[in-house]
């Protein structure tokens, strides 16, 4: 595939090794913030299981702020030295954070429907638990990608939340889908196959929304 006379690989300005190194550097810099992020993850999983509006409100705020933290910590602090486009990502992540804060304020009930809930939980569990485990197992502990600090698990877990609580799923999924498209395209070229899990998450999200739309749940 060519864009404006260029192959996709022509847009890559760093190597796979350097991409992973940014994650290692960030993890070393942030340690032990990963533990705090993981504790938040546990709370967020809990929040998807209970029907308390106070818990839901707090969880929605934390989900929203996770976009800001992933944007600033990963894209600004770690990624921008090797990719000038990272500043654009920071802006979009901040915008998504604001959108979630605004649009999820009154979404305090979980959607009903078994398929909807199963898919939402799958996405959440993958983002919070499986993705960190997979990245640690594949590339070592210092390369672990954690929700709230790194974009891939943050995006995937957020899709789970949006499925489960949001009445404006379409609006809230625009930035995640744009990000998933751009990142997965580049990740494919770089051989960062764990990032492609976002494409699977996007497919599951879209499929569930379609099912919901046609009232098959």
């Amino acid at each position: 595939m060519k864009i404006l006379g260029h192959k996709l690989s022509d847009f890559l300005m760093f190597s796979q090794e350097i991409y992973r190194d940014q994650i290692v550097t960030l993890n070393n810099f942030l340690w032990p913030a990963q533990i705090i992020a993981f504790l938040f993850s546990i709370f967020l999983i809990y929040s998807l299981l209970v029907r308390s509006q106070t818990v839901r409100r707090a969880a929605n705020i934390i989900y929203a702020l996770s976009w800001l933290s992933a944007g600033v910590l990963f894209h600004y602090t770690a990624y921008s030295p090797v990719n000038w486009l990272a500043f654009v990502y920071v802006l979009f992540f901040a915008l998504q954070s604001i959108l979630m804060l605004l649009l999820l304020r009154s979404d305090l009930r979980l959607h009903e429907g078994n398929l909807n809930r199963i898919c939402a939980f799958c996405l959440s569990v993958y983002g919070f638990l499986l993705h960190p485990i997979i990245t640690a197992a594949l590339y070592g502990g210092t390369t672990t990608e954690i929700w709230g600090l790194h974009p891939t698990p943050t995006v995937i877990a957020s899709l789970g939340l949006i499925l489960l609580v949001s009445r404006q799923a379409f609006v809230l999924s625009i930035i995640p889908f744009l990000y998933i498209f751009v990142e997965c395209t580049l990740a494919w070229e770089l051989g960062l196959y764990e990032v492609l899990s976002m494409a699977g998450a996007a497919f599951l999200f879209f499929f569930t929304l379609l099912c919901r739309k046609y009232e098959r749940l």
Binding site: M13, F14, S15, W84
Partner: protein
Amino acid sequence: MSIFSGISRRKLLSTALAATTAGMVPTNLFAWEKIPPILSKVIPSTGEKIPAIGMGTWITFNVGKNQSARDERVRILDAFFKYGGAMIDSSPMYGSAEEVVGYCLGKLDYKAQLFSATKVWTPLSFYGKSQINSAHKLWGVEKFDLLQIHNLLSWESHLETLLQMKSEKKLRYVGITTSHGLRHGEMEKIMKTQPIDFIQLTYNVLDREPENRLLPLASEKKIAVIANRPYQRGDLFSQFSTKPLPNWATDIKCKSWAQFFLKFVISHPDVTCAIPATSQLAHMQENMDAGLGEMPDADIRRKMTEYIGSL
């Protein structure tokens, strides 16, 4: 048939290096003092000579703060200069590459040998000067040898700035760049109308379109030519490294496909310098070796393109 036929570049080099480390071959195989000077070519606008093999920094020097990668780049640059290399080409578009080049230059002592070439890359004409000032700091040089307008972006305003700098002796040469065979029409127009010293474009054994108009025009207008992507960003290796080198490659001292590809580029009479990029010391040595020994003449160059076409 060459003894290197069918052996990949990586495998051949890693075997050679492993053998050297293991003491199977004399360790002074790569001794710098025994290396004769590599091919030099003339910058037509001044008559100054520069080595025909330079170094690009796209991707390979964008390593951020990774200390081990930085240290490796210091070793690569050290080898480059010890081989007699001079031109390093970078751009603000290449992430941290300029800063890493500056870091490496600061660790070495080759500033007198360096031919510094970077670019202006911004659509905002007022930002051009600020970007150039920033590049001076990143590289740690007071004056660039060559400043180019990257991909002809906002070239009218930037060219005015660069020509002004040149007239004030703050810059030695002015150039423009394209890559991937794009915007050649516009480049041709600028070459015909503006007093530039250098053009940079993609030229390699597969991408020979510049031979039709731009290279002859460069010769006519006394403009030096930098060839980027001499390996088509590694695609030439993917495509041909499993194929045998022709028997006659040894006549022009080609031991590997890398040397075959590079010698083809720098032997064009109108090409001044090629700028392969690498992140591996062994590849740097192999690249620089291509500047040694016999260069293909017109007949052999024709045989090279025919051979590539036949594969």
